[in-house]
Subunit: 197 residues, 2 copies
DNA sequence: ACAAACTTTGAACAGTAGGTCAATATTTGA
DNA sequence: TCAAATATTGACCTACTGTTCAAAGTTTGT
């Protein structure tokens, strides 16, 4: 059945994304991937033509799922509420479901050129989602930034690093940390505690 | 002469820090390092006993120089001014003098255990510098944060990612971008444009 | 000028990497 | 049940890795 093949491929991609996310492209061998799947290296070549193709597919699958989660959030309501939801969802997905894949978004230079394009497009997608909300908030006067691009950079940086800080927190501690992160990054767009400059 | 040996070692460490910063530990071979130095791999072993020892030394040298630059900044004046100076210096050093070494501070998991300790201590040092200034600002009422640790995390994330954004900017464009970054991250501690929450 | 100290080389070694493939095992469909 | 399709193996190849080291080249002090 084609179904079965699809599932097997998905299994492989999940494990691959995990490993590459943990240790990076160069530090993970196909033997490593195969071992975690309890098969031998040769089997991987039955599904993927090369290491590059495997990692490309892993990145794309993961990115598609992630972007889908963010795009599924409601697009109405006040900008501050929407931005909070976006940040919340992004970090939650990162920490809870893909705790080891931050590297994909972190250091594009880590990856061979063929993969960089895919990663950059993924980042562009995410950027779009956040940019739209912030632009709306700026128009409505709910937000205030020094510079939109810079604010987005900082926002993205904070979220990308978050999984590393949150790795050790679970349950209530995680929720608490997430609350604080959301409130803190909202300050980047002028929402929250105020102070005269 | 011992002087000459010291200089040679320094040359090697500079090149090594560059390369490891660019591509990470696993992706850089000793042949790569040797090639950029126009020597053969064997020569490196005359100065360093192993790849690990070389990379350890590179990290330590770089970290010492960097921390020194930050610690040399004046420790008087209003907190906002001091924090601005710290961010400015940090990003300037990163972009102008060590444009390719962000990885050292970015993904500790990239490095073998022996090196992680050194990197973490380096980060602790940096954290101290920024934490002290922010704490002073909080006491004096100049700053306002949701949570000190979270604000520091965000600040650090933004600065660490900065070299990647700034890589393409030179001259006036760089200064402008740096200004915007400094103003933006200052919002994390409640300084700048205000807005009711 | 020359010997001692310092530096670099290049070959060699064992281990591991990505990749290939014929042989084998398993599943599927009729 | 049995042959065709699908999936997995494990041995093998070549290239490259970190590392060692005897030999050769270069600097230095006298």
């Amino acid at each position: 059945m084609q179904r079965k093949r699809g599932r097997r491929i998905q299994e492989i991609l999940t494990v691959a994304a995990e490993l590459f996310g943990e240790r990076g492209y160069a530090a993970v061998s196909l033997d490593d991937v195969a071992e975690r799947l309890d098969v031998t290296k040769g089997s991987l070549y039955y599904y993927f033509a090369s290491k590059d193709e495997l990692v490309s597919a892993a990145i794309e699958t993961l990115g598609r799922a992630w972007t889908g989660r963010l795009a599924a959030l409601p697009t109405d309501g006040p900008p501050a509420q929407r931005l909070r939801a976006l940040v919340r969802e992004h970090v939650t997905v990162a920490v809870r479901e893909h705790p080891t894949t931050l590297r994909l978004f972190l250091v594009p230079d880590d990856w061979p050129p063929p993969q960089r394009a895919a990663i950059k497009e993924l980042r562009r997608w995410h950027d779009r989602l956040f940019r739209d909300v912030i632009e709306e908030g700026l128009r409505s006067g709910d937000f205030l930034v020094v510079d939109l691009d810079t604010a987005l950079h900082c926002l993205h940086a904070a979220m990308t690093q978050a999984p590393a800080w949150f790795a050790a927190r679970h349950g209530a501690a995680f929720d608490q940390a997430l609350d604080r992160l959301v409130d803190t990054v909202l300050m980047l767009v002028g929402v929250g505690p105020k102070l005269v400059s």
